[in-house]
Amino acid sequence: MRRYIVGRLLLMIPTLIGVAILTFVIMRAVPGDIVALRYAGSSVPQDIIDQERHILGLDKPMWAQFVDWMTSISHLDLGQSLWTGHSVVDEVQVRMPLSIELAILATLFAVALAIPLGVVAAVKQDTWVDYAIRVFSIGGLAMPSFWIGIMMVLVTLTLWGWAPPVVFTPLFEDPVANLAGLILPAIAVGYRYSAVSMRMTRSTVLEVLREDYVRTARAKGLRETLVVVRHALRNALLPVVTVVSLEFAFLIGGLVVTEQVFNLNGIGKLLVDAVAHRDYPLIQALVLLLAAVFVIVNFVVDMIYVVLDPRIRYA
């Protein structure tokens, strides 16, 4: 097991290097650069544009820029944002707590909704309860979370003249203000997220409820709740854990539009701004970071499998 874990951890390195190379090449293949954008619409002569390109090293050949970047990375230096001139670490550090907290809140909301409802829908298969839950979950899949967000803001604003705070307050500074800022986006995102997990829970629980060991448990005279929770649900959770975990990883950097609707200063918005600005060091660092989150979450999911299903062994 230890060997397996070390092997998996080592495998992350070539994966991340691959991501780094791909990101580097793709971004430079896209037309436009930060300097042209910085002076868009203003009467800035070409020699200033050329000077700035030189200062930022954008006039170097691509291979030289790549070597520079890899050298910095090997010194654990992610570089500076070309747009603000501040270190990439600083830029990310400011946004990360918000993104992580929102991802956690949305996941908690989604799981709290998805698992009980998914189980109930499976247990009450083909009854009105099942239909109602399925309609509810289809609603979550059909409506984009940003639209739900806009509607929630519109409704609270129209009825109570209230909208979530447009400035993020850290949790430990003021928990109430923090929650006020994140609760609506967490619900908007969590609803769609719960719909995916709910449907997955329902179908896997349905499958497990037909297994022999569940029949045996019932034959032994166990209470239905125990049968469902202890025997069926635990075995049905493997695919649900996978969906929930990957969705969590996605939420860290994937909530671009929702972040815009609620004016959340998160990683998704930072990444989109960085792409729009052609801020290469920031883009490269963020993509690497998000890739690392996915790789680590994947690894953690594999470890959770072992806990959930003792039959699984990694060698």
Binding site: L37, A40, G41, S43, Q46, V94, D273
Partner: protein
């Protein structure tokens, strides 16, 4: 069962309620005047929106309003535009209006002697010299995008502790107003000497507000500078505000929400007519609105290096096909364009009268006759069914509606223009590489000044390099632009500018404006002492702004 039915019904009812509210007709409240007869009240915090993040903190280096709005309150200028009459230039750290020598080759500026930097050091002429040297004669590795605007200056001399001389190469019509450029923050000579890049990441000015921190991508804070030199006409110390907070809100709808929920009081760049109406309906008793023509305009730019746009007949046909008067009326209801004008802002000090303007191709009021003339020109040029890609950037307001309108107008004379929308960076790359056929370009300036508005009209291989995306070289036009720049008699200059318009927009039809932008600022009426101007760059030091107590 009942609950599961009630929930969606309630949700639907809430949404319908919201929509019903939105359907009410707008009510427009009148903005309180800046002077207004009210006595300003000191105290309070102004919260405003900035819809982009400043890149660096250095005003000399950047060109975006996103820097000026949050950062200008930390700095003073040598001269600035009068907050009560934005057509007038008044002294800021200068003690009086500049003195111009008899040969108009030396401009002498006397400085106030009571100006202190935020670190407590006194401001002297050395600071002004260091500031303007950095702007006009930047050392290697320092970028100064506006250095060209001061090409007339040969030297800046600190003649005594509180006097500065600007030596000019030739008399210049625009130099004095250019001293009020909102970008020319006064920096400390000592700080620049220690590190010429100091101001890219630090704030240390002589302005009315001290830097009070910022969170990247989120907000910027300033607090009252107790040592600020400014006083109002009653002798009350400025600024009135205790503090300000700039909220970075990039999404326009989120900005409207912030004002509607009273989390922000104002956004200084502008909203669309529909956003104004939305706010007006939502806050009928708490909203004031100021509107003004804007020194921003979109240009249609045919690439003259590409066939058939090397033919003036084709370029004239493109401009003739567009009904600007009808377009202004229609588009102003939905987006931020309105007035018809030539190369200078309509109704501005250098604008042509409508009588002269309508004689220029594409500006006449008989849309049908113009379109018929356009068809004939296209036929004469051998391209009756012209088709091309029309490059545009992916910014909704006002680029998309303006481009859609143009495409429709062109269609009516048999031209097929395919809307080629690219994100700003890729769009700029195409403009600068000349890899497009016809583009929608844009220009925004802080001042009605031909030297600024004509910058894109210089020959592309000379002074217009990197600015003139129509890519023509025309020594005659260069001469005309240069002549107006050196003409110090305002009336003669207006005439010279008119000649340039007729030549560049009509005879040669190199590139031409579509519609001039229109600035709309809806804001909470508690904000007082701020007056809209014809640009979103000046009047942002917040010195005279105050917040009324309700």
């Amino acid at each position: 069962m009942l609950r599961s039915r009630i929930a969606p019904v309630i949700a639907l009812a809430l949404v319908l309620a919201a929509c019903t509210q939105a359907a009410k007709p707008p009510t427009t409240t009148v903005a309180p005047s800046v002077a207004g007869g009210e006595k300003p009240v000191s105290g309070g915090t102004l919260t405003f929106i900035v819809n982009a993040e400043p890149p660096s903190f250095d005003g000399h280096r950047e060109t975006t309003f996103a820097l000026l709005h949050p950062i200008a309150p930390h700095y003073s200028l040598l001269y600035k535009f009068d907050p009560n009459d934005l057509t007038k230039v008044i002294p800021d750290v200068a003690a009086e209006q500049p003195a111009v020598s008899a040969d108009k080759m030396t401009v002498t500026v006397k400085l106030r002697q009571d100006v202190k930097f935020h670190d407590g050091t006194g401001m002297t002429s050395e600071d002004i010299k260091a500031t303007y040297d950095k702007i006009i004669f930047p050392p290697t590795g320092v970028l100064s995008p506006r250095a060209g605007a001061y090409a007339v200056v040969s030297a800046v001399n600190a003649t005594d502790k509180y006097t500065v001389d600007f030596k000019l190469k030739y008399p210049s019509a625009s130099f004095l107003t250019n001293l009020a450029s909102p970008w020319n923050f006064i920096y400390s000579a000592a700080k620049l000497k220690a590190d010429i890049h100091f101001y890219e990441k630090n704030i240390m000015g002589t302005g009315p507000f001290l830097y009070d921190g910022n969170t990247k991508g989120q907000d910027w804070k300033g607090k009252k500078n107790p040592d600020y030199f400014g006083k109002d006409k009653d002798g009350t110390k400025l600024p009135y505000l205790d503090a300000y907070k700039a909220l970075i809100i990039t999404d326009a709808n989120a900005g409207v929400t912030a004002i509607r929920s009273k989390q922000a009081m104002i956004e200084f760049r502008g909203f669309t007519p529909s956003q104004r109406d939305d706010l007006s309906r939502s806050l009928p008793n708490d909203l004031a609105i100021q509107e003004a023509p804007w020194i921003c305009v979109n240009y249609v730019v045919p690439n003259t290096t590409k066939k058939p746009f090397d033919d003036p007949r084709v370029r004239r046909a493109l401009t003739l096909a567009v009904d600007r008067w009808g377009g202004g009326e229609a588009l102003s209801k939905t987006t931020i364009v309105k007035d018809v004008g030539g190369l200078m802002r309509p109704k501005g000090p250098f604008a042509e009268s409508d009588t002269d303007l309508v004689k220029i191709a594409g500006f006449g009021k008989d849309a049908k006759a113009n379109k018929d003339a356009a068809k004939k020109l296209l036929a004469d040029a051998g391209v009756p069914n012209l088709s091309f890609k029309f490059l545009n950037r992916n910014i909704q307001t006002p680029y998309e509606p303006v481009a859609v309108y143009l495409i429709d107008q062109w269609k009516q004379v048999g031209i097929t223009a395919t809307h080629d929308v690219k994100e700003t960076s890729a769009y700029q790359a195409d403009l600068r590489a000349g890899t497009f056929e016809v583009a929608l370009d844009f220009n925004c300036d802080f001042l009605d000044e031909p030297d600024l508005q004509l910058a894109k009209f210089w020959s592309a291989s000379k002074a217009g390099k990197g600015l003139n995306f129509a890519y023509y070289d025309d020594t005659k036009l260069d001469g005309m632009i240069d002549a107006q720049s050196r003409e110090t008699d305002p009336a003669k200059r207006v005439k010279l500018v008119g000649d340039i318009e007729r030549y560049a927009m009509d005879e040669m039809a190199y590139q031409y404006p579509v519609l001039w932008w229109y600035r709309i600022i809806p804001y909470l009426s508690v904000v007082r002492g701020w007056k809209i101007g014809s640009n979103h760059y000046t009047n942002q030091d917040l010195t005279t702004v105050w917040v009324a107590k309700k």
